[in-house]
């Protein structure tokens, strides 16, 4: 049995952005609940923040494919 440990690394690398995206949307929901009229403005900020945080996970995904290594068998 063989495989690429890069995928394992990607799984670990996805933890951070996962927590980050969760925090961003938790804050967004909090904000909208407290002040529903600010929804439009907060939505843009939340999605922008999500996009920036998510970029780390996306880079991890790409690097997992790039640095797969070679099959020794």
């Amino acid at each position: 049995m063989y495989g690429s440990i890069a995928y394992l690394g990607y799984g670990l690398a996805a933890i951070g952005p996962g927590i980050g995206v969760g925090l961003i949307f938790a804050a967004y929901i909090n904000g909208v609940a407290r002040q529903p009229e600010a929804r439009g403005m907060l939505q843009t900020i939340a999605f922008t923040g999500m996009a920036i945080t998510e970029a780390l996970a996306i880079l991890g995904l790409v690097f997992a494919f790039v640095f797969q290594g070679t099959n020794p068998n």
Partner: protein, 279 residues
């Protein structure tokens, strides 16, 4: 993902993996995204691939729909006119005006509208039956869109700041201690010229690739479990895998819309950074 190896057998990769039964289940991989349709000279890189074909279809479809729907405009909108106005309003107001600012957003609305509709249609093609290929899962296509955005926001910024040197100077906020300036300049330069375009292209590409790969795993795995599974438990989990793949398809629809939105949103955000006087 070596194109020459896969294209040597003219079978599309997904069919090959699904039918390569002797060696057991072969997990779908990046090779499944290489689909040559018309080879021009046999083995080289110059082939008409399936994403290119889907892209052409989407452009034709968009042109046909938008030209046809805007030809006869009426005060009481028809269904298609309602769709056109809705999508245009969404891009113009939610993305364009709210982010770039009401002063000079209007000149960028055509670009944003094109980006949004093109990406949306191409993404949704990923789950439309018989087309079922997310065009943006080939890196080259989002890369071209990103290059367009990249050139646009740098050109706008250089014009607004009257030259390349003032533009570079404006990357560093004023009122910093002298020793901090080079470090911050390096960081900002890297952000504006490398990280922003790279993540813009890779985000769309990665989301589409990962989403489609996930659907492939569920559907091909479900097929294998159902038809080649040894016992009833495996067959039952194959059915479960199919059910889950349907749920994942709807989830994909959400992601596809969201990614088209985010790409356009970020393009607008970079442009708004460029048009703003202070930075």
């Amino acid at each position: 993902m070596s194109p020459t190896v896969v294209s040597a057998s003219w079978l599309p990769a997904a069919v090959a993996t699904a039918e390569g039964g002797e060696g057991g289940f072969q997990t779908p991989g990046v090779a499944n995204f290489w689909w040559p349709v018309v080879p021009f000279d046999g083995t080289g890189p110059w082939v008409l691939t399936r994403p290119a074909l889907v892209l052409l279809i989407s452009v034709g479809l968009l042109a046909w729909f938008y030209l046809g729907a805007t030809r006869k405009l009426s005060v009481v909108p028809t269904k298609s006119q309602f769709l056109v106005e809705g999508s245009y309003n969404f891009v113009r107001n939610t993305i364009g005006r709210d982010i770039i600012g009401s002063k000079d957003f209007l000149q960028f609305v055509p670009l944003l509208m094109t980006l949004f509709t093109l990406i949306l249609v191409n993404n949704v093609f990923g789950i439309v039956p018989f087309i079922q290929f997310p065009t943006m899962s080939r890196l080259g296509i989002p890369l071209v869109l990103t290059v367009i955005v990249y050139i646009t926001y740098h050109t706008v910024a250089i014009r607004r700041k009257h030259g390349v040197l003032p533009y570079f100077k404006s990357l560093v906020p004023p009122g910093l201690p002298g020793w901090l300036k080079p470090i911050l300049f390096a960081l900002e330069f890297l952000t504006y010229f490398v990280i922003r375009p790279l993540t813009l292209a890779l985000r769309l590409f990665g989301n589409m690739l990962a989403g489609h790969l996930m659907l492939l795993v569920f559907i091909l795995g479900g097929e294998y479990l159902l038809l080649h599974g040894d016992n009833l438990f495996l067959n039952a989990s194959g059915v479960l895998s199919f059910v889950f793949s349907i749920a994942m398809t709807f989830f994909e629809l959400l992601i596809e819309f969201l990614q088209a939105f985010i790409f356009t949103l970020l393009a607008a955000l970079y442009i708004s950074d460029a048009v703003s006087e202070h930075h």
